[in-house]
């Protein structure tokens, strides 16, 4: 798995998630990602990828950060601290958003869940958890709100794929608490009881499939992991590692911090200008809305054959280097190479681009993202 390039590679030993023992028992291979020792695959990353598209996969994403923001001014604070209109998110819903630097550069991309009127849960990327918690803490001065990094208290498990809802409904010990599962909409959350304790379950994910992300206290994480795997077995569920997660999110056109997103770019460059509502002012990173007509823009590229352009490979127009691939792979679902790349704006719709694959120029076709969209 590629290491985010600008999230900083920690010098210390990578940390274990609460599910390390489960992964070892399942025969996982591990990789250091964002300072965490994470399962990269259990058996075959292709089989795990296909399982998520056709049935379901179970991912340990406990490396993600969970930061709780509470207080009467929490909504106003997050409107100030983040790119989105967070105070407008109804209780029970979630929103994809970003935290920006003063100059508009992307500090991290986030999902924010509104738990109560005055309570929000912010999910940050593993490699950015500390910087996000620090930035939020710095920005909260003057607001009636508190910021608490609760990442060490929770494991996060993602159940993704078309059979996810059925599996969750059949998982031993899981009892519907808020809405029935079918009524929890995409980008909404509800609760279930598991072993008598309420768990937050969100209909969100990073694979392009239907599915849930389950926030579980560390002490119950292994029990929930095993219960989900057992319930999922007849429905094609397999444990899936970061390798499959990366090809799934790439097919779904979803950015990965350190690849498509960084401090050096503003959201609009990544095609994500919509994270800032039109007319929003008075927030950290407002400079992101200034026009940048010469700034590189993110595009999707497809190619024929089986040789994939990969992160760092040059994108050429004739002999001119016009950009660089940020993520690329041979798409397991589509069977041809796909890539995302930042290119000069004048090359963003060029019909004559090539990717330099270790000395061989492979013709590449500009393609609207995502590469893959599920039938729903």
């Amino acid at each position: 798995m590629d290491q985010p390039t600008d999230a900083g590679i920690p010098a210390e030993e990578p940390r274990d998630t609460p599910l390390r023992g489960e992964h070892e028992a399942l025969g996982a291979s591990f990789t250091d990602f964002g300072g965490w020792l994470m399962p990269v695959r259990y058996t075959s990353d292709l089989a795990e990828h296909h399982a998520v598209r056709q049935a379901a996969g179970l991912f340990d994403i406990s490396h993600m950060g969970e930061i709780l923001v509470e207080g009467g001014g929490a909504g106003a604070f997050l409107d100030h601290a983040l790119a989105g209109a967070i105070s407008a998110v109804p209780v029970g819903r979630a929103k994809y958003t970003m935290i920006l630097a003063e100059d508009g550069g992307i500090v991290d991309d986030l999902i924010v869940y509104r738990l109560q009127d005055d309570e929000f849960l912010v999910i940050a990327n593993a490699g950015n958890r500390e910087v996000v918690a620090r930035e939020l803490t710095d920005r909260v001065a003057g607001f009636d709100a508190t910021v608490e990094d609760q990442s060490d208290d929770y494991a996060l498990i993602a159940l993704q794929g078309p059979t996810a809802e059925r599996i969750l409904a059949e998982t031993a010990g899981v009892v519907e608490l808020s809405l029935p599962l079918p009524e929890i909409r995409n980008y909404a959350w509800g609760s279930v009881l598991f072993g008598g304790e309420p768990l937050l379950i969100a209909r969100t994910g990073y694979t392009g499939e239907d599915g849930f992300e389950l926030l579980v206290p560390v002490a119950r994480a292994a029990e929930l992991w095993r219960a989900l795997l057992a319930a999922g077995e007849p429905h094609g569920l397999v444990p899936a590692g970061l390798a499959a997660r990366d090809t799934l999110r790439l097919e779904a056109g979803m950015p990965l911090y350190g690849h498509e997103l960084s401090r050096a770019i503003v959201p609009a460059q990544a095609g994500l200008g919509r994270v800032i509502p039109a007319g929003k002012t008075g927030f950290v990173g407002e400079a992101a809305t200034e026009p940048r007509p010469d700034a590189p823009v993110l595009i999707g590229l497809t190619a024929e054959g089986r040789r994939a352009g990969r992160a760092g490979y040059g994108v050429f127009r004739g002999d001119d280097l016009v950009g660089e691939v940020t993520s690329g792979a041979l798409s397991p679902t589509l069977g041809h190479p796909i890539a995302m790349a930042f290119v000069r704006p004048d090359a963003a719709d060029a019909a004559d681009l090539t990717i330099d694959v270790r000395g061989t120029r492979i013709p590449a076709t500009v393609t609207a993202l995502p590469f893959y969209r599920r039938n729903s």
């Binding site: 291979s29 292709l46 041979l330």
Partner: protein
């Protein structure tokens, strides 16, 4: 089942089966496990020469690209078209999924025996 002790190895995780002046070359199961699912192999054409210690091709998985190093000097006399068409065979059985056959010129040298290779990869013999 391949007799792994009858094979020679390189530190770059190729295996080589020597029969007379014919060398059959592939990558080890250790390499296949490290790579993950192999999706593409780039192999030389029949008639090309390869040089011991030099790159003769590439092997790509979903996650990474690795170069293939020739264990011996010689001329490529056969390329495994089955693996070219279905690279997943490398993961299924790395010691059956040979990549190229080479007519060896000169005396092979610097190759590892099974014990030395296993020691290199930190495993148990």
């Amino acid at each position: 089942m391949t007799d792994l002790t009858a094979l020679k190895y390189t530190a770059e995780h190729e295996w080589v089966a020597l029969e007379g002046d014919l060398a059959t070359i592939g990558v080890t199961d250790f390499a296949a496990d490290q790579l993950g699912d192999v999706v593409y192999v780039d192999l030389p054409a029949v008639g090309q020469t390869v040089t011991a210690g030099q790159v003769f091709g590439e092997i790509e998985s979903t996650k990474s690209v690795s170069e293939l190093y020739a264990p011996v000097d010689g001329e490529v006399v056969e390329v495994n078209a089955d693996v070219d068409a279905d690279p997943a065979q490398v993961n299924a059985d790395a010691f059956a999924a040979w990549l190229i056959r080479v007519r060896v010129t000169g005396e092979p040298s610097g190759l590892l025996d099974r014990d030395a290779y296993v020691a290199l990869t930190g495993g148990d013999a």
